[in-house]
Amino acid sequence: MRKNILEVSHLRVWDEATGNVLVRDSSFQVRPGSCLSIVGESGSGKSVTCRAVMRLNKSGIRQSGDIRFDGVELGRLSEKEMRNIRGKQICMILQHGMSAFDPSRPIGVHVAETLARHYGWSKSEITAKAKSAMESVRLKDPIGVLHKYPHQLSGGMLQRIMIALALMLEPDLIIADEPTTALDTVSQFEVVEQLMALRERIGCAMLFVSHDLGVVGKLADDILVMKEGEIVERGSAEVLFSNARHAYTRELVSAKRVLHEHFTKVMGGVDLADR
């Protein structure tokens, strides 16, 4: 068996100023090419965990514990070495596409700067690659989109641009922090579809954060359930959906079932929990 791509052990995150513990003693692993989903209500420490892996929590938020990525202890890397990993080996997809891009520059600037930073491609290479990546996430007029400002595009389109960028960067791990939460049902469906296609195409592992179990059921191999900074349950997706042990998980699953039936009806019988 191949070793895990990401191994987090005894991660603890706390706010230095208030002493509030945001994540306590959390340990989990992500196998190469698999998708681990973290579910839980807002404020349960999901996003903080993601940012802790990237070492991108706000200043004043401290963390301890081991985070091993591809055998490398991330906590020991210098800021510069960490920057080389961010984007190229671990890619992030954020919740709010609308605010994820610099509001005063065209989208293409960010795409080009990121690609040039990690791969040193020429301008024409970048344009060519961006064009095919944007087409593969089904954005019409890919070159036109690159010249648009964030406020001229929809949240779903921006989300797919982030996915397209991940596609070009070919990371080993993608951290998707609630990528579908801010979207309407149709855009959600498209984004989930693209995330699945992305995994198929570059074979990357994924850390997928959501409180939407319908989406989680479609993507996740394994699931962690977090509540108030603690992992309360973990297991494979199949087992968890049919046989949740923790009361909180059962609550989430049953709340989801009601929504899920509605979702299935809206999407015309596409069943999301059939994995």
Binding site: L56, R83, R117, M162
Partner: protein, 310 residues
């Protein structure tokens, strides 16, 4: 963008018209009869009814208000603001050079204010809560809370008298700029850098900063993005600083004997020299409109949302 610029400049025309009308109307709000002011200023011993009527005619004050307004406006466009009631000389021959001197002082100061505000604002924002941030904010609070005449006097005493490094007054050389500019920079940059700092800080927590970092972009590039997005409030403040300082250098000009607008206007106001006051108010109001337009244009260049491109 070009349409936006043209539109924005055309929009300022009606504003300028309203301002000129109000400025001209000021004359009529004053309880004093300008004719009497002129005669007093010329030292006429006995003011008779005929003399008043005669002077009124010679000044053109007996014509209808609207006619006088449009005549005055047409003349103003050629920088002819009439003659001073007190000295009888053309207003622009007095106001022009003084305005130029004040403008020089103002522009040099504003450039220094912008540089200091941005540098200090960015440094403090990047080191929020650290020793540098705290000490810069503490010192600036201490310095800006001193009245500028007191600060100016202190600086003259130390740098000109005690160390004999800089001239105490006048504007004879580049060195003469140092002290008055320093006083203005301390009073304004000490406040403006906080605006830069706080908008940098609110931008630092934006998602696009997190995403740029998550993409591995270098910090320098990210700081440049944050700065650009933080500049919008600051640009308006910086642009408005020009007319504000133009109109409020009286204290500094007096302390440093700067041959500028400040002293001239105070004297004109005291002697009720209406054409001078009118010209001064008009020039300042025009400066406000111009720099306000300029700040809108710069912001439109910085912020694509304001441009409304098709």
């Amino acid at each position: 963008m070009v349409t936006y610029i043209v539109k924005r400049i055309l929009l300022s025309v009606p504003l300028l018209l309203v301002i000129s009308f109000l400025t001209f109307g000021l004359n009529h709000l004053s309880p004093l009869d300008p004719v009497e002011v002129v005669l007093h200023a010329q030292g006429v011993p006995k003011i008779t009814e005929e003399l008043i009527a005669e002077t009124k005619a010679s000044l053109g004050l007996n014509r209808p208000f609207a006619v006088r307004y449009f005549d005055w406006l047409a003349a103003c466009l050629q920088l002819d603001f009439g003659n001073s009631y007190v000295t009888g000389k053309p207003v622009w021959s007095l106001l022009g050079p003084a305005f130029l001197n004040t403008l020089k002082l103002t522009l040099v100061s504003v450039i220094a204010i912008i540089v200091f505000s941005i540098v200090l604002g960015v440094l403090c924002a990047l080191r929020e809560g650290k020793a540098l941030d705290k000490s810069v904010r503490g010192i600036s609070f201490f310095l800006t809370s001193m009245p500028s005449y007191w600060l100016a006097a202190l600086m003259i005493w130390y740098f000109s008298v005690k160390l004999d490094l800089l001239p105490t007054s006048g504007m004879d050389s580049a060195q003469s700029y140092i002290l008055p500019v320093a006083v203005l920079v301390i009073s304004y940059a000490g406040i403006y850098f906080r605006i830069v700092r706080s908008s940098m800080l609110s931008n630092l927590n934006e998602d696009y900063v997190l995403y740029a970092r998550a993409c591995g972009l270098p910090e320098g590039k990210i700081t440049a993005r944050i700065l650009r997005n933080s500049m919008q409030v600051a640009v308006s403040v910086f642009c408005m600083a020009v007319p504000i300082i133009l109109g409020s250098t009286v204290v500094v000009e007096n302390v440093f004997a700067w041959p500028g607008l400040g002293t001239l206007t105070v004297n004109s106001i005291l002697s009720r020299d209406f054409p001078m006051i009118q010209a001064y108010v008009l020039v300042l109001a025009v400066a406000f409109v111009l720099f306000n337009t300029l700040s809108d244009l710069i912001n439109a260049a910085l912020n694509p949302k304001l441009r409304r491109e098709p």
